[in-house]
């Protein structure tokens, strides 16, 4: 469960996120879309506790990020858009590193890590240094590590970048499965077809402000369109139709 209240972020004179209010329910997949520079990554980073808001509050799974950042983060699985990984660690060592930090016990680690690596087709690469991994493999490893501690909320920035079609299918299935198990998913993406296909609700951010939220049908109504897919709705809402 995610609650954002008047979330605001200023970079000098630039207002990156402007009084964002949003609530995402348990087990919901929420898509976050917007043009480049609209404030998606800034919002995601504030949600993950990586960036402090200028004003407002972030609450994840009922825990305030400002008051109890450690507890809040322990309940989150964060998948950044450009995953930094320690090049000189092996895949399994990185999983161990994540497990140690998120308190995954030794008893369940081997089985869980092995299972996740196998699911992401990384089992044969588990003992190879990450520097030998392709971009897609690194992305898979980050996702696997984020799931290791059974997070109650997954925050993911551009989940499909760098993944092959099989990887995209895998991640889509996985996110649906997680949501069915009650995990809240907040996902930013530029791939509108994926947002339309996967998300229960979608929020459109433009120039730092949340300009619309709802299902694709709701957004169509907000954009005053009788028909059309999410792409047309998005372009209408963000005033980029002629672009």
């Amino acid at each position: 469960m995610i609650e954002l209240k008047n979330l605001t972020k200023r970079f000098g004179n630039t207002l990156a996120v402007d009084r964002l209010n949003l609530s995402v329910a348990k087990g919901e997949i929420f898509g976050f879309i917007g043009p480049n520079g609209a404030g998606k990554t800034t919002t995601i980073r504030m949600l993950a506790g990586v960036l402090a808001p200028s004003e407002g509050e972030v609450s994840v799974n009922g825990i305030s990020m400002a008051a109890e950042p450690v507890a809040a983060k322990r309940s989150i699985g964060f998948i950044p858009d450009r995953p930094f990984l320690y090049e000189k660690l092996t895949g399994m060592e990185f999983m161990r590193f994540s497990a140690d930090l998120y308190g995954v016990g030794d008893g369940s680690f081997r089985q869980k890590a092995g299972g996740l690596l196998a699911r992401f087709s990384l089992h044969d690469w588990a003992d190879e240094l990450i520097e030998a991994y392709s971009h897609g493999m690194r992305q898979r490893l980050v996702i696997a590590a984020a799931l290791l501690h059974d997070p109650r909320t997954i925050i993911v920035d551009e989940p499909m970048v760098g993944l092959d079609p099989a990887g995209i299918r895998l991640v889509k299935d996985l996110l649906r499965e997680q949501a069915r198990q009650g995990v809240t998913i907040f996902m930013s993406t530029h791939t509108l077809s994926i947002a339309e296909d996967l998300c229960d609700r979608i929020g459109v951010i433009h120039r730092g402000r949340l300009i619309a939220t709802g299902t694709t049908g709701d957004l169509r109504g907000t954009a005053l369109l009788a028909e059309g897919d999410l792409e047309e709705v998005f372009l209408r809402l963000t005033g980029q139709e002629g672009a």
Binding site: G49, P69, K73, P80, Y86, K88, L101, E131
Partner: protein, 565 residues
Amino acid sequence: MREVLALLRPRLLSFRNGGAAQNAGNRRIRYFLFALIGAGFWAGAFAIFYRVLIYFQGVEEFGDILARKLLSMVLVTFFTLLIFSSIITSLSKLYLSRDLILVHSLPVPRGRIFLARWLESAVDSSWMVVVFSLPVFLSYGIVYHAGPFFYLTAGMSLLSLCLIAAALSGLAVVTAAVLLPAGRIRTAAVFLGAVLILALIMSFRLLRPERLVNPEAFSTLIVYLRAMETPGSPLLPTTWAVDSLNAALAGLRGEALFHLALSWSCAAALAYIGVWTAAAIYFRGYSKAQTSSARPLALRIGSGGRRRRLFRRFAGPAWAFAAKEARVFFRDQTQWPQLFLIGGLIVIYLYNFSVLPLGGSPLRTIYLQNLFSFLNMGLAAFVLTAIAARFVYPAVSCEGDAFWIVRAAPISLKAFLWVKFAVYYLPLLVMAETLIVASNVLLEVAPFMMAVSAATVFLMVPGVVAMGVGFGAAYPDFRSENPAQSVTSFGGMMFMLLAAGFIALVIVLEAGPVYQVFMADFRGRSLTGLQWAWLGGSFALVVVLCVLAAILPMRFGERRLREQR
């Protein structure tokens, strides 16, 4: 503590796994070369300190005062170096590293994140100072016949100094980062550091220590040192270290332990205050570090039109890359202090020639002047190599993640590399020729030597620059957070070794014939036919060597870069 250890583990594992890396062979060669250079430096430092201390022991009454003063000066210098190094390292570790987004997303209290990063920073910033301070303490121990207690005290004193320096720097950085973005603080720190180093070198050089070989000047120094026999401030960590070391040398164990206790209690207190402060304000500063603030100097927008008209004949991708290179170079504020430092060092280089005590030598002055001029060619070329290692070698690696633009651009890799060459060639040629001509003017050398030096440097500059670009392209590091450090890689070491070999070969080829010409002129004789042939052959070989040095590394770099995945 478990979390702190977990946060430190990737670093330890990375270190351990380094041997299994894809480029482990290159890494081993690099470590071997570094170990060799380090051992040479270490042995040199030991020899100098040992000789100086033996010399001091021979000075009646003042020997011990001089040795103590030297120890105090050494520790103050180490402490200053530690503070400066810690500031730069902790800024990087705490605010600018690429893995911080991952680290801050982890469920670890901020105080512990700070503690883990601070410990890493303390080790990174002090290990080199510790390693190179060992010959100093070893020489004191041997000269004063000290026992194991002295070495133990030295180790513990040094360790506490490192912790105090790291804690003070950490506190300063965490506090400053709340007020200013960390990137701006780093630029300011590097700039101030450059000014400090330059001021120290200049003041030392302008004191003209070579005058101390004059007995009259030396007796004045003794009087001065006697006046300075007063102890340092009791509030300074270096005073505690000096006092504990002096006490250990004198066999006063209790006193040595008392000063050590002072030092360690200060280190522990500062570390505690640091973690406590960081828990309160570190994250605020980290958030600010992700904010880009306004530039100190606004870009001049609107002058592009005039510039385009001026350079319109240079249009096209090559010009675009050249313009980009110049813009990126001058907009990168971390380059400014280094340019400033180079300017200062050139002034000192030339100043050295103006104060050379040639008159007091028993050798004929004219002979010495021309000998120095000849050696100066090699020296200037080595200075050129060092500058090329800092600026030219990393030029290709500086493209970083944006190298795909070069790959995608309508320009061949060959043209791209020659653009890099052209951008650095002209300024380095001007610098090298300025050094040579100005130092020759100060030495008042013969016109023949002036012509030979200027022509040789003119021929060598393209070779050195091409080697920098070529080897930088052959061994690029597009993933480095600091491409300037890529010169410490295998390719960088190869570049420096080959450039040094190239310069030495040119000097050796020219030495014989130049000596013959000079001596013939000196004795008023003309050159024999054989000597003319030797002269022509040597200079022809130099030209061929310089042409090959300018072409082959560029081809090598282009081929290797093309093969890069």
